[in-house]
């Protein structure tokens, strides 16, 4: 029962990922696409965590941690680029 619920949750998250890519492709502004990418990072984290619980393995949590940390840096860098045209100044 529990695993079924987990599978359902994963299906919903994957659906969210599909919507993310739709939003990414549609735009129209760069900021919209950037938001979509960031949401994609968050959804990936969720997917990994749920999959880790489903597969009863801790290995996936670290990848999730890394996505959380590095995805943030990536998003920040693009934001900085949009705002200032230069990320390190």
């Amino acid at each position: 029962m529990f695993s079924l619920i987990l599978l359902a949750v994963m299906a919903v998250i994957i659906l969210a990922l599909c919507l993310n890519i739709w939003s990414l492709l549609r735009g129209p502004a760069v900021a919209d696409r950037l938001l979509a990418l960031d949401t994609m990072y968050i959804n990936s984290i969720a997917l990994l965590l749920v999959y880790g619980v489903y597969a009863s393995s801790q290995l996936y949590f670290e990848a999730a941690l890394l996505i959380a940390m590095l995805g943030f840096v990536s998003t920040v860098a693009v934001c900085k680029f949009l705002l200032r045209g230069d990320i390190i100044e």
């Binding site: 994963m10 299906a11 994957i14 990922l17 599909c18 890519i21 990414l24 492709l25 760069v30 696409r33 950037l34 990418l37 994609m40 990072y41 990936s44 997917l47 990994l48 999959y51 290995l59 996936y60 670290e62 990848a63 941690l65 890394l66 996505i67 940390m69 590095l70 995805g71 943030f72 840096v73 990536s74 920040v76 860098a77 693009v78 900085k80 680029f81 949009l82 705002l83 200032r84 045209g85 230069d86 990320i87 390190i88 100044e89």
Partner: protein, 933 residues
């Protein structure tokens, strides 16, 4: 005593190292260190002299590459002793002389180091007991003489002369190598002893003519024999001490030494006879003739050297034992008087500022002592009695009388020898008369005077030897000449007498004729000069330089064709090569499908793949809007990481994520230097061409991937899987492979990474930059460069990220992680600080030398590897053990951790070196727009 032989060679090396390490020593100290080598060498030789004169041969050898017949063999016999004496003795005097010759602005250590290197190379030739080893030292003389001739590298004539000398002698050296290899094959060994004992067998071999011609090519180019003599006059651009050493006693004698050394093995045939004597005769005559017309003193001496070398070669070519004795005797005499004459030329050049004999006249009044010394040496060169040159010339004359080289025309040879002697007297007379008498100096920059006292000492020693040998030949050189001749011929030479007076005979008459005719010729030289001026001659150096320039031009054209400097072209070439090389074998296969079946697809993965494909296509479609393309490719990276995790490759996923972010930051920094939109669509033909290339790549790579995945190949991975824990002490096989099993590869990779980072850092200087004041849509930039929220969050992120990277680092050996990922995480976290706070804020807080970080990383990795040497194990042997520590429990310590630390530091240093410096670059050149809208 043979044990001392390698020491003789290593002492110059020792002096070279000291000279190059301690460049700030005073000139006198440097001279002393340089002098140490020949003095020590002579002292080492001294105790062996009595045995050697009795015909002993000292030999010592080590195995080097026995499979190739290559052994380190040092062999000292009387012939080698004689040459070692010349090399050390004249080297000693030249080093002493150079101390006064070189001006304060000439770098002394470089000069002495090159000279000693040359000395070492010459000794190597002389002391080699293996012909391949001899050849290596032979090439070393070519290279070190190149360094010496081009010592004044700011002068164009020095560079050209050095290039010409190197080209000619090195080309000859290559011919020699082939000749020696063939010789060794025929003789069955490369050891000199064996070759010398197999003379008849070598001569009888069908390959003998080829061997002889190749070896002669090597010897003739080195000893400036006609028609290869042209490099020697151009080598006169060298500093005079170099000429005194290389072109009197050593370098040019190397070729002759080789002929004498191999004499028992390859001489004694008609071919030897005609080739060697003909080359010698032509050289003797052309050298003597052209020497008379040189206006440069050193030019005169150079052509005279060529002529005397020709004389020695001719003697060897006459192919009688007695002629060989005469040749060896003349080698000694020529080295002594020619070295002193070069030194005189150097003194004159030094004190008058010119070497042109049309300007420097009447120096007798300004430097009587030098003039007397030079005149004695020149008289010896002319063959005046009571001097050493006379004795060997007499022997030469008498040898020309007792031969039948030219059959019925053999009477021609004494005649030609006398003719050469006539010119020899004439140019010697010119050297004496034109320089020291003949009126007053014309148009000199300074008033000539005697040189410093000690600058004359080497000349005095040599001139004393000229006279000493001339008067007491038997007493001074009789023993060594006999022993050296015996060693050269491998048998006792026929009886001869070294005496001043042999009675009234034909050779004496030839000398007298040559002397009188020479003086007459000199007096009437005006006519001869006019005659010679009628020839339009292009100098060899100009023709050679023309060829070199043309060759350089060709190479440049080729490299411009092969390297147009367009990235597209390179990538296209690489991809086409891949398509062809990888595609061709695919055509040979019947089916892609291997023995492994396909796994069932799950819908989650399929959706991820679809998202990835969509993002990849969007990247291509939006490639001209660079930021958009960057965002889309981030999606590809993210999906790829998720797929890696799905298919049980967490290591790859972690690395992929970290690399992804570092790359994105790098690309955004690079975008700063690019316009927002790239140029318009390419032409349709170009588009089609690129589509075909991309399509072919996709087909080939896709098929290959399918092929690999469906085949069950026996690979090394099963070995790694089985041995990771027992052999490397870790359960994370990927990491154990990286830091242990294939640690040497990783070491190479981090070295390359460090070099690449340094290269990029260097390339970053001088990039043109331009910063628009608004973004692509015309909005002006935001005012706040470092938003507060971002600053606070990123500061909070740093310790977290460092913690994660430490965790990943230590866990790497057993579970996913390792130095590489940890390094990237640390680097990204630090870069985050640069983004949030700016370069000016980070710099005082993170005072790290990134290049030093890279260097220390590589060093730590190397030390970890080298540490195993202490235990007599090969490089990078790993070690691990488990310890029980109270409270902490069982802990594993592995040498791999230290190695991984090196990897970690290199990665952090390299990444920051690139990213932080790129960031600094944009900061430094930002236009002043702050505070404006």
């Amino acid at each position: 005593m043979a044990l001392l032989l390698p020491w003789i060679l290593s002492i110059p090396l020792f002096s070279i190292v000291i000279l190059l390490l301690f460049r700030q020593l005073s000139r006198n100290q440097q001279t002393l260190i340089a002098l140490l080598a020949p003095i020590a060498g002579l002292l080492l030789l001294a105790p062996m002299i009595p045995d050697l004169l009795q015909g002993a041969v000292f030999q010592q050898q080590w195995q080097w590459l026995p499979v190739l017949g290559l052994q380190w063999t040092f062999r000292l016999d009387a012939l080698a002793l004689l040459f070692s004496f010349l090399i050390f003795g004249i080297g000693l005097l030249v080093i002493f002389y150079a101390r006064y010759y070189l001006s304060a602005s000439d770098p002394m250590p470089r000069f002495y180091a090159s000279l000693l290197l040359f000395m070492l190379a010459m000794l190597g030739i002389v002391l080699s007991g293996n012909v391949l080893q001899l050849w290596m030292f032979w090439e070393l003389t070519s290279i070190s003489s190149f360094l010496l001739i081009s010592y004044w590298s700011h002068r164009s004539d020095a560079r050209k002369g050095a290039r010409l000398a190197l080209t000619v002698t090195a080309a000859g050296g290559l011919a020699l190598l082939v000749g020696l290899i063939l010789l060794g094959q025929v003789a069955g060994s490369y050891q000199l002893d064996v070759i010398l004992s197999k003379g008849p067998q070598i001569i009888a071999d069908a390959q003998y003519p080829l061997i002889l011609v190749l070896i002669l090519l090597g010897a003739f180019t080195k000893s400036a024999q006609f028609p290869f003599h042209f490099w020697l006059p151009n080598a006169m651009a060298a500093p005079t001490p170099v000429s005194a050493y290389l072109h009197s006693a050593t370098m040019v004698k190397a070729g002759i030494f080789l002929l004498i050394r191999l004499y028992p093995a390859i001489a004694g045939t008609d071919l030897w006879f005609s080739l060697v004597s003909l080359a010698g005769l032509l050289t003797l005559l052309t050298g003597a003739y052209f020497a008379l017309f040189q206006h440069d003193i050193k030019g005169l001496l150079a052509y005279s050297t060529i002529s005397h070398l020709g004389l020695i070669t001719l003697l060897l070519g006459l192919d009688t034992d007695l002629a060989t004795v005469a040749a060896i005797f003349h080698i000694i005499n020529h080295a002594v008087f020619k070295a002193s004459l070069f030194m005189a030329a150097g003194i004159i050049d030094h004190e008058t500022g010119s070497r042109d004999m049309r300007k420097i006249n009447g120096l007798w009044h300004f430097m009587p002592v030098t003039a007397s010394l030079a005149m004695v040496a020149a008289a010896s060169m002319a063959g005046v009695p009571l001097l050493n040159g006379f004795l060997s010339k007499e022997m030469f004359f008498s040898q020309t009388l007792h031969q039948s080289v030219l059959g019925a025309l053999s009477w021609l040879l004494p005649l030609l020898a006398t003719l050469a002697a006539v010119f020899s007297v004439a140019y010697s007379a010119r050297f004496i008369h034109d320089v020291f008498f003949n009126g007053k100096p014309i148009g000199l920059d300074k008033i000539p005077h005697e040189p410093p006292r000690y600058m004359r000492v080497p000349m005095e020693v040599l001139v004393a030897l000229c006279i000493g040998v001339g008067v007491f030949p038997q007493w001074l050189v009789g023993d060594i000449l006999l022993a050296a001749s015996t060693a050269a011929l491998q048998q006792t030479p026929p009886a001869y007498s070294l005496a001043l007076w042999h009675g009234l005979n034909l050779p004496l008459l030839m000398s007298v004729v040559a002397f009188v005719a020479g003086i007459v010729l000199y007096i009437n030289r005006k006519e001869l000069f006019l005659f010679q001026a009628g020839f339009q001659s292009t100098l060899a150096i100009h023709r050679f330089e023309g060829q070199v320039q043309r060759l350089v031009q060709r190479c440049r054209q080729f490299s411009q064709w092969a390297e147009p400097g367009r990235l597209q072209w390179y990538i296209a070439a690489m991809l086409w090569a891949t398509v062809l090389l990888a595609g061709y074998p695919l055509l040979q296969l019947n089916s892609l499908q291997g023995e492994r079946g396909l796994l069932p697809t799950d819908w989650f993965s399929a959706v991820l793949v679809v998202i990835m494909v969509l993002a990849a296509m969007a990247t291509v479609i939006w490639q001209r809007q660079r930021l958009l393309a960057l965002i889309m490719i981030s999606v590809v990276g993210l999906m790829l990481s998720l797929l890696f995790i799905r298919f049980s490759a967490p290591d790859l996923a972690l690395t992929q994520l970290a690399v992804e972010v570092a790359t994105a930051v790098l690309l955004m920094l690079a975008l700063y230097f690019l316009p927002h939109r790239s140029p318009k669509q390419s032409a349709h033909a170009t588009l089609l061409r690129d589509l075909i290339l991309a399509g072919s790549c996709a087909i080939v790579v896709g098929s290959l991937a399918y092929l690999m995945l469906t085949h069950q190949a026996d690979s090394v991975s099963s070995y790694f899987l089985a041995n990771a824990k027992s052999g490397g002490g870790g359960t994370n096989v990927v990491n154990v492979i990286l830091v242990d099993f294939r640690g040497f590869d990783t070491f190479g990779e981090i070295t390359v990474l460090g070099i690449a980072a340094l290269g990029i850092y260097k390339l970053l200087t001088g990039i043109p930059r331009f910063k628009p004041s608004a973004d692509a849509d015309g909005r002006s930039w935001a005012l706040d460069a470092h938003p507060l929220l971002l600053r606070v969050v990123s500061q909070g992120l740093l310790p977290l990220a460092l913690l994660v990277s430490v965790y990943l680092f230590f866990r790497g050996h057993n579970l996913p992680g390792g130095g590489f990922v940890a390094g990237l995480v640390t680097a990204v976290a630090l870069i985050m600080q640069y983004i949030a706070h700016g370069v000016d804020w980070v710099k005082p807080r993170l005072n790290l030398q990134f290049s030093a970080l890279v260097a220390s990383g590589i060093l730590i990795a190397w030390l970890t590897g080298a540490f195993s040497w202490l235990f007599g194990k090969p490089f990078l042997t790993s070690w691990f053990d488990y310890f029980d520590i109270p409270l902490l429990g069982q802990i594993e310590l592995a040498s791999a951790i230290a190695f991984d630390l090196g990897v970690y530091l290199t990665v952090v240093g390299s990444t920051l070196l690139i990213l932080a410096n790129l960031g600094k670059l944009t900061t430094r050149h930002k236009p002043e727009h702050r505070g404006q809208i």
